[in-house]
Symmetry: C2
């Protein structure tokens, strides 16, 4: 019995199920092919391309069916992998279709093979419509192909049993019609009953209208600001002209789900406070429908089921924002393939704002805008990198789920939290600055933790005065092209930088050297008392080693070459 | 019969012989152990350390003798290599001692193993004085150990037969007594006969006094400047107070040899001009004696035998200097482990100074001072890296031999030659600037080529005005610590830079961006006509791929675990 399932293609003709074995460092996959034509491709790649992908192929030459471990080159051409890493365990005809059972170690120590890591994995598939004489005759560019993002390495956590005294509340779309366009963000306001007292949410799970499993991409529930005692009952696309302004004040995440995720459980000792005095009676449901086939007239009532209890748990859970302040002083030059920006939560802030016993982070949701490609938060203690809080080397802005951590991370007073985002601005002409706009960038890790503290936001940005020094300085090399007059906005200044190698490298050097401004803020967006400007960059004297994957010995591998399937 | 031989230890109790098989991408070694005690270690490491070395070990536990493939960790502790890369072929007792015959592929594709590349290899050895119960019981720090530098991958060139009409001239030390100190540079002036006409040197080889093979480290013959018609017949240490000043004008390399090198042959169609009008009648022999055991009273008459002919060959060979100008504007910050400086020979200079048919480089001698660790020269054509002229990833300033290229490199008009040196200044407190001093640095590749042109020197350095911009610019960030007044010398300015990360990175960015001053000079140290200041840095749009070593399949490997030797 497989624990995890996901449809791969919009038609749902391919369904993947899997289990993770941490002791064996391997994944057991079952690929169910519902209408088998002449074969399928399945595999993984860095960002969901069918080029440079690590694949298994099931194909037929007309007489015989074969299964083999393969890879595609940068042109999409398929080749046999001389070393078989996927091990075919079983092939079975079921009433639903053909079920292929195979096993793949997390890492193979072959640099050409994909390394399965924590975080997002881009699964790719292709459908073979006709026989091929050989594997090498297949080129992925001629096939119907696609990608599906998923977290394969689910944490191995035993979930607390749901206590008997919990209630369920379904917050879902009211039987709406999914618009016939590829992307829709749907907004729906739900009102809690009058006088609804303080409860703890202890668990939530998706409720997906049957048949729409491949259309509902992600959902979030936000609480409105406590001051908001009257929010219009809106129900419609979030970008609609009719959307009331007030909905912009409903931004405090309560629950989030994305495709491939299952129920989210709070640790037994904590829950998120919900209802009662000091919190708004209004919540906003946001559903992202992804409808690539532009199916018309499909109705939907998907949403999230909240499980809550009036037996308050020992701790309130809280959500804290780590990373970069939303400000244009942090910018990414254009045409960069992997530019890194880093935001800090300094020892000074954790010293002041955390309780003496520290806090425990149990879940994390990473967030960037369109050019984000990797995100990582590291905890440093006494100047040494100590532990990874959350890392996603294949992060995609289109797949932002809340993820339980494999292991809770305790943050002590005086610890430093360092969040780095890697951006790809290859196809941009001008610098991308930090900010709220979809074409601006963010670098955020929302960490879920307990016990709740007053610290809502622990973020940084480069000191603005040093950035002005930078503009002055590159002007000496570039004939005064950047306006350093007081009227120019930072965004305008960045837009006028001639991005030669010197200006790029010096910007990197600036960000790695200049003092920072800290936002060490309470819920009310008020800073904790103290001096937060011109803070020194935290020093890190030793970094964590990359974990070396355990390399399977050749005994564990199948013989090279395709397997014949009867 | 082995082609190459080298003593490993000063006592000459270990002698290594080897052959290179390019088709098999492997080396066949014979290690002759003259007085076997309880065993030996032999292997290779990055710079001759016994830590992180790739080793073979012959040892005994008192009863049985074993041979195994091993490696040492960063503490010098020996471990068995799970994958045997050295293959023991034969063990033989000879009258001279125990001869071990084994084979090692150039690369093993195991990142922990040493990759045998072109250029210098640091061989290491250790002598086991007593039995060890197991391999893991051995720690290299307790043994008598040492290193020997050698070029293992000798080019596979068939040498032209020495024509019958060649004469030999021996230029050697006149039976001197080697001083009882570790390092001696000995200088000896030799005068050519009156009226000695123009000849071509076509070959030269070392003549080493028997018994001193391990003491004579390297030798060079320099021609004195053509103007010098009277040079005193000096014979003594080069750093002696008695050394006449005039010897400083004897710097034009005629021949060079270093330990492990064999005879040097000119290509059949070329020779180096020697004697006759327009050249000095005086040459200087320089012998570097390396006497680590401080042996006293050893006499020596080593030198170089020049083979020359009066049948002048079709082409005169020439020597050209590539790399960096000797100037303090090119500097390396202190405490850097791998800082790269790059010197250019631009398309503009090769366009102007090379003959229409181009030139052919057949040999190369790399040169830096004490902090040099790697040197490479790449030829770029039409903005793309085209071919490597010479590369040494384990370069040592203590081992500067002239090396024949495996394959001649043709340089066309308009080509660019890019020479990069990597320096390690970990143990320096102040910046290391370019210059002639032993504590200053150089980055030079002397290339031997034909047909000879007027171009003696094709080198560059950063434009001095841009360096002053750099000093101004970092002052804005560092409270004006660098004096930018006209009286300050560049060396003084570099000495006053506070080397924080910003100043280091911006210096790198400057060198990678700022325009250069070219030295495109004739023999007479006069520049070719044209504008050579403020030249743009040559643009390189595509770089050469690292060659991936061919990985031996597991079939070619010995079974894991030690071999018992009867
Ligand atoms: Cu020098």
């Amino acid at each position: 019995p497989f624990l995890y399932h996901i449809p791969l293609d919009p038609e749902e003709s391919l369904e993947l199920s899997w289990n993770v074995s941490y002791p064996q460092e391997a994944i057991f996959f079952q690929l169910l092919v519902k209408q088998l034509k002449a074969g399928v491709l399945f595999g993984m790649s860095d960002r969901g391309e069918l080029e440079n992908a690590d694949l298994v192929v099931l194909w037929t030459d007309g007489d015989t069916a074969y299964f083999a471990d393969a890879w595609s080159d940068q042109k999409g051409q398929i080749h046999l992998d001389p070393q078989q890493d996927y091990q075919l365990l079983q092939v079975e005809r079921t009433p639903e279709g053909l079920a292929l059972l195979f096993k793949r170690p997390f890492g193979t120590c072959d640099p050409k093979d994909y390394l399965i890591e924590d975080g997002t994995v881009h699964l790719v598939y292709g459908i073979l419509e006709e026989p091929f004489l050989s594997l090498e005759a297949i080129n992925s560019s001629g096939l119907r192909t696609g990608l599906q993002r998923v977290q394969l390495l689910k944490p191995n956590i035993t979930f607390p049993a749901t206590p008997s005294d919990t209630y369920a509340m379904d917050i879902h779309a009211p039987d709406i019609q999914i618009p016939n366009q590829v992307t829709t963000y749907w907004c729906y306001i739900h009102e809690l009953p009058e006088g609804f007292p303080r409860h703890h949410i202890v668990k939530y799970e998706p409720i997906i209208t049957k048949g729409n499993e491949a259309l509902v991409h992600h959902m979030e529930i936000f609480q409105c600001a406590p001051e908001m005692d009257n929010v219009p009952h809106f129900n419609g696309p979030c970008d609609s002209k009719m959307k009331p302004d007030r909905l912009n004040y409903c931004r405090h995440v309560l629950a989030a789900w994305a495709l491939g995720a299952k129920a989210f459980y709070y640790p037994e000792e904590a829950g998120i406070a919900f209802g009662g005095p000091g919190s708004s009676r209004y919540v906003r449901l946001e559903v992202h429908y992804h409808n690539p086939l532009v199916i018309e007239g499909r109705r939907d009532s998907s949403g999230i089921r909240l499980y809550y209890t009036d037996k308050l748990r020992r701790f309130n859970a809280g959500i804290m924002e780590l990373g970069l302040v939303y400000t244009p002083v942090m910018a990414i030059p254009p045409r960069e393939t992997a530019f890194v920006l880093t935001g800090y939560c300094t020892d000074k802030c954790t010293q002041l704002a955390l309780p003496p016993s520290g806090i425990h982070i149990f879940a994390s949701q990473l967030h960037t805008h369109l050019t984000g490609r990797k995100v990582v938060t590291v905890l440093a203690r006494d100047g040494r990198e100590w532990e990874i809080v959350n890392q996603d080397n294949h992060y995609s802005p289109h797949f932002q789920e809340i993820r339980m951590l494999k292991k809770m991370v305790s943050v002590h007073r005086g610890d430093v939290l360092i969040t780095s985002c890697t951006y790809n601005t290859e196809d941009r002409e001008l610098a991308t600055v930090g900010g709220f706009g979809i074409l601006e960038e963010m670098c955020v890790n929302y960490v879920h933790y307990y016990p709740q503290t007053q610290l809502e936001l622990c973020k940084s940005a480069v000191n603005a005065g040093f950035l002005q020094k930078y503009f002055h300085l590159i002007n000496r090399f570039n004939n005064e092209e950047v306006c350093t007059c007081p009227q120019a906005s930072v965004s305008q200044q960045f837009a006028s930088v001639p991005w030669n190698s010197f200006n790029r490298e010096v910007l990197k050097a600036l960000y790695a050297f200049a003092p920072i401004s800290m936002h060490c803020n309470k819920s009310s967006a008020v800073r904790f008392p103290g001096e937060w400007n011109l803070q020194p960059l935290p020093k890190v004297i030793s970094t964590l080693e990359e974990p070396t994957p355990h390399c399977p010995t050749s005994q564990g591998r199948s013989p090279a070459g395709p397997t014949i399937i009867s």
